[in-house]
């Protein structure tokens, strides 16, 4: 067992837990974007910053990747943390303003505008989909490609991957793209595209009972009748 202080409260937690888990266990809210239970911590969005250590030497770390240490002092909502968090949210808003998840987080932190050049990316490189594909679906169809400004997520050579199981898990976890269309009837679907593609569980027998995240989905509706 390891003893640490979170916001002045002394707590004991199992060795190997992360600061995020410990704080959440105690009920201190820490916003996250690239963290998801069941997936390995990745530390991409930095939204979960907390301050550790004593005042003059304190520093900011991402709590989702930081394992607890004996005698650690953690502050989850100090002024410095809040400032950093707001900045991160502004940057996220600047790159991906159409994301519902980011909008919600921003309004939660009372951010009404951002100071950076507005872009309209559809990816924030949080890597949730990549981890989902690899760790939960055991597939590894998509991954990071390139580097720096040109970094992107996708399949090798930009062609349909032969290991993709078309489970939709990547779309399900994505906080930015909101690609998933939630209408269940072809006429009411946003683009109607789903009614025109052959959904694997519908056309191929071996995919009938596969695990799927596309619920609700036109295929299920069609299968029902």
């Amino acid at each position: 067992m390891i003893t640490l202080h979170i916001n002045g409260l002394k707590v004991q937690v199992e060795e190997g837990t992360t600061v995020l888990e410990a704080a959440r266990f105690l009920g201190f809210p820490i916003p996250t974007l690239c963290h998801m239970e069941g997936l390995s911590p990745y530390g991409a969005c930095r939204l979960c910053v907390v301050e550790i250590g004593q005042e003059p030497n304190s520093r900011l770390v991402s709590s989702c990747t930081f394992p607890v240490e004996e005698g650690l002092h953690v502050r989850t909502a100090s002024r410095r943390v809040m400032r950093a968090r707001k900045m991160i949210l502004e940057l996220l808003l600047a790159s991906c303003p159409q994301s519902k998840v980011i909008q919600d987080l921003a309004s939660e932190f009372h951010i009404t505008q951002q100071r950076f050049r507005q872009e309209y990316e559809d990816c924030i490189m949080c890597g949730l989909c990549v981890r989902m594909c690899k760790e939960q679906m055991m597939s590894g169809a998509i991954g990071f490609r390139g580097r720096g400004q040109k970094r992107s997520i996708g399949t090798p050579f930009d062609i349909t991957s032969d290991v993709c199981r078309q489970c939709g898990g990547c779309i399900y976890v994505c906080p930015a793209c909101m690609l998933r269309c939630t209408y269940t009837e072809p006429e009411k679907a946003i683009c109607g595209g789903c009614a025109n593609i052959s959904i694997p569980c519908y056309v191929k027998d071996q995919f009938k009972d596969m695990m799927c995240y596309m619920d609700p989905c036109v295929a299920c509706e069609i299968k029902k009748d």
Partner: protein, 283 residues
């Protein structure tokens, strides 16, 4: 598919277990780029998802997924070269070849890339074509240089150069002279550098006579060790982008007084070297 089989299993029999990067390097060295089927092969043989291999292949600049040209032109856009007009040199090359950085001409003769520092900042703007340094490139001469390369740098090589002559060299980073006249080998002042290898760090002097290869080191250097060279004045590592044609270790560039660059192999015992004197190449 048979000739491809050789690329990993036969050419690199003991490497099948080693990292992806080494495998990709071997393939890149063989084909000049990474063909698609080879990436599938690597994925199969290493038991890793293709996307991971693809991620590595697209991450490193050293790898290319499209065939490269016969000649590789690297124009330096590092800080020092940038302020001395590296970008205009790059533009000029782009204009002459009609391609953008990162592309290859249609006839597969030239590939152009921009790099961040080639380790010869004191000679900026620097351009390297197939491992040969072109220092202080003037825009007006770019066309001439490329023409010469087209005709074949090789033809201008003097095959065996038996002449022995002393060189006066300076650090390619700070341009401070490396000559030390308090000490002599072969009857000429020596070149003094600091070297590091196997956790050892010490002084080393080299004979300044071109073609002599005599060295004296504070710590004895075992044969075949690759040594890191440092400038005793600015303490920067003397390393460029080029690799030794004989053994593949990286080359150590030094500026030759009077214009030009000499590169020596960083592996003890390897005699790989290259001398560029203002465009005239003596190998």
């Amino acid at each position: 598919m048979n000739h491809q089989e050789t690329s990993i299993s036969r050419a690199e029999p003991d490497r099948v277990k080693t990292g992806v990067i080494q495998l990709l390097e071997a393939i890149q060295a063989k084909h000049g780029y990474l063909p698609k089927e080879e990436l599938y092969r690597v994925a199969r043989e290493t038991n890793k998802p293709l996307v991971d291999i693809y991620g590595v292949a697209t991450f490193y600049r050293a790898f290319s997924l499209v065939p490269r040209g016969r000649h590789l032109i690297s124009v330096c856009l590092g800080t020092a070269c940038h302020v001395r007009g590296g970008p205009t040199v790059a533009k000029e090359v782009e204009k002459i070849l009609g391609i953008k950085a990162g592309q290859t001409t249609e006839d597969r003769e030239f590939s152009l890339e921009t790099v961040n520092c080639l380790g010869a900042c004191a000679l900026g703007p620097v351009m390297v074509i197939d491992g040969h340094y072109y220092p202080k490139v003037q825009i007006a001469r770019v066309g001439e240089i490329i023409e010469a390369v087209k005709l074949g740098q090789k033809e201008r090589l003097v095959e065996t150069d038996q002449r022995l002559f002393p060189l006066e060299v300076s650090c390619s980073r700070c341009n401070h002279s490396l000559m030390d006249s308090r000490h002599a080998i072969d009857g000429h002042p020596v070149i003094r550098v600091t070297v590091a290898f196997d956790n050892k760090h010490g002084r080393m002097v080299l004979s300044s006579v071109y073609g002599s290869y005599k060295v004296e080191s504070e710590h004895p250097i075992p044969e075949d060790t690759v040594v890191n060279f440092f400038c005793p004045h600015c303490h920067a590592e003397m390393i460029g982008g080029a690799k030794c044609g004989e053994c593949g270790a990286s080359m150590v560039p030094m500026i030759v007084r009077g214009g030009g660059i000499v590169q020596i192999c960083s592996r003890k015992g390897c005699k790989g070297h290259m001398l560029d004197l203002g465009g005239v190449v003596i190998d």
